[in-house]
């Protein structure tokens, strides 16, 4: 089953290696900029013609209360591995907090549709395997744009692969139900990002660079749970 994906990934990596040419004024964080811009353009086309229109219709068709339930449902499933990652990073209290969230929301929150845990004072966290690797001291490596998924790095892309390998929705049967859940997840996620991408459109002079720098800043902040060692911008 997973074979085609593996082959695609391999072909993509080979293409990447072939494109690692030297050029003028490269950003050391982004040695594959030429190739990345190619994948970025492909993703933009896919987004313009399919993902964004579908997400826009989805947002118009469903009331915000319903969309929030969908977000809560998937967010609840993610709490299991958010907890695992917190424990792997040595943050045991946070991990227990995340699993308690999952327990309360799955039962009294009706399969996670209602986030009663937040109202109880159990805070939602943001963790994934990429962040855990970062916490363990793995550097981000070169910046990468993944097909369909967007901004990443070698470290975070590896993390995403692990996130996907372990997430429980993949075990859902029948296959049709699993695929429906995947579809719903992607459309809902894209719809949540509609405002953000519009703002990006307005703010950026070069969208590629703006997205890249924002992504790298964001990941650094997440790895330190919002408290990265301060890099004070020196006044000129």
């Amino acid at each position: 089953m997973k074979c085609p994906v593996t082959w695609l990934a391999l072909a993509w990596l080979l293409a990447l290696a072939g494109c690692a040419t030297t050029g003028e004024e490269r950003d050391p964080r982004d040695p594959f900029e030429g190739f990345n811009r190619g994948v970025y353009a492909f993703n933009e086309t896919f987004d313009d013609y399919l993902a964004k229109p579908v997400a826009t219709v989805y947002r118009k068709a469903l009331h915000v209360e319903i969309r929030n339930r969908v977000s809560n449902f998937f967010g609840n499933i993610q709490d299991i591995f958010i907890g695992v990652n917190n424990v792997l990073q040595g943050k045991f209290e946070d991990g227990v907090n995340d699993w308690a969230r999952f327990a309360f929301n799955t039962t009294w929150g009706l399969l996670g549709l209602h986030d009663i845990a937040t109202d109880m004072g159990l805070e939602k966290h943001n963790e994934d395997f990429g962040q855990t690797f970062g916490r363990w001291g793995v550097p981000p490596g070169p910046y990468l744009i993944l097909p369909f998924l967007g901004p990443s790095t070698v470290r975070d892309g590896t993390g995403t692969a692990v996130d996907w390998a372990v997430q429980p929705v993949g075990e859902v049967r029948p296959i049709e139900l699993r695929n429906t859940l995947y579809g719903l997840y992607f459309v809902n996620t894209r719809s949540e990002l509609l405002d953000a991408t519009r703002i990006l459109e307005e703010a950026a002079l070069d969208k590629y660079l703006f997205t890249r720098d924002a992504y790298l800043q964001r990941r650094r902040s997440l790895i330190y749970d919002g408290q990265p060692p301060r890099e004070k911008l020196e006044s000129p």
């Binding site: 809560n72 998937f74 519009r198 703002i199 703010a203 002079l205 070069d206 890249r212 924002a214």
Partner: protein
């Protein structure tokens, strides 16, 4: 002569904003945010999608509390020193237009969400503080808005906004540096003008 005019002018400025000079930075952020969000959610023209009215509200309510010259200087980094006073003025003006529009869009997008204003963690004598606000979201960790603020003669002024850990000012650094390297400070001014007029038409 010159000195007296300046004195009279500053006296006028301070008497016009007696509250601004004393208001604590976290109180200022909370008051202004709530006031603007309230205006956005109630105003019929803005709800109908009027960008002009939205920008007008931001300009009247938010703009006085930002130090755009400092923001432009930080985003420019080393290139700031290469610019002439006239270029600095133009850069600041264009960057301000860009930031105000972006900020207006962001606030409009978040206006339906719940805000959580965090208590200020600073010593009484501090002149450089970060005010933390969180915007609640369904199914995800709240988005943090961190306002970096500096105490000035005319009250606390914002010189950077971090959204989810992303510094808005730092995020322009690569773009600005690349443009200045390739086409000079004037090239950057032109690019900013082009961007602003393109957005104006939308």
């Amino acid at each position: 002569m010159k000195k007296t005019t300046l004195l009279a002018l500053s006296a006028l400025l301070f008497s016009a904003h007696p509250a601004a000079a004393q208001e604590a930075p976290d109180v200022l952020v909370k008051t202004v945010t709530l006031e603007v969000v309230d205006l956005i959610t109630k105003d019929k023209e803005i709800k109908a999608g009027s960008r002009a009215k939205l920008v007008q509200v931001i300009e009247a309510k938010v703009l006085p509390h930002f130090n755009f010259t400092a923001m432009t200087a930080l985003a420019m980094g080393q290139s700031w020193n290469k610019a002439t006073p006239e270029q600095k003025k133009q850069l600041t003006e264009e960057f301000k237009t860009l930031l105000v529009r972006t900020y207006a869009s962001a606030l409009a997008a978040y206006s339906e969400q719940k805000f959580d204003f965090r208590p200020l963690r600073a010593r009484p004598g501090d002149t450089d503080v970060t005010v933390n606000v969180r915007v609640m979201q369904p199914g995800a960790q709240p988005v943090t808005l961190d306002y970096s603020m500096e105490k000035t003669g005319s009250g606390w002024k914002v010189y950077d906004v971090m959204v989810g850990g992303v510094s808005l000012v730092a995020n322009y650094r690569t773009e600005f540096a690349n443009t200045v390297r390739n086409s000079g400070v004037d090239g950057l001014i032109r690019d900013l003008q082009k961007k602003n007029s393109a957005m104006e038409k939308k």
